[in-house]
Symmetry: C2
């Protein structure tokens, strides 16, 4: 679903990845990380889709909230397992959302 | 694929959408818009995936390049058709990419 976010400015983390194919409990970890992210202070929402490339965009109130989430011990472990097992490559882009526009039928 | 972008800062447009199900030449329009975008000044790359929600992130050198692309006549027509036919809802978020990190095995 499309995340309902707050008035700009807020922050986004764009995580784009290509997987190795070693699936090895990937979905369980991805789901558990998303549940954990939702409980972090400053989390606003997230959107995710995967075909050849996977894209997860999470939205946050501040850069500080993003830093704390990136440093969360369980997230650190997931990041290590991601590099060892699941991801062929990825990009993380930390963004300030300066303006937004929503359309709904 | 994961876009190869320039040194930060640069800009990103996160386009998140839910489709109506009326397909009506959607893929042709989406492909043709992506080809056209690639030829615009300041375009750096794009990433795209769709499941329940579709996410396309395009990267640009400047806000000005984004404004020009949004105002491009062929893109305007595509945007109108998108609202009329293809999209149940969408969000467009204009972002400044402040930092990035790349991993490759």
């Amino acid at each position: 679903m499309i995340a309902k976010t707050i008035r700009t400015p807020y922050y986004a983390v764009v995580f784009s990845s290509v997987k190795t194919g070693e699936d090895n409990a990937y979905d369980e970890m991805a789901d558990s990380m998303m549940e954990l992210a939702r409980r972090q202070p400053g989390f606003l929402g997230a959107e995710s889709a995967r075909n050849e490339v996977g894209i997860t965009v999470s939205y946050w109130e501040s850069l500080d909230a993003i830093k704390k989430w990136q440093a969360h011990p369980a997230h650190q472990i997931a990041q290590e397992r991601g590099k060892e097992n699941w991801y062929e490559k990825y990009a993380v882009r930390i963004c300030k959302v300066e303006s937004d526009y929503f359309f709904e039928k």
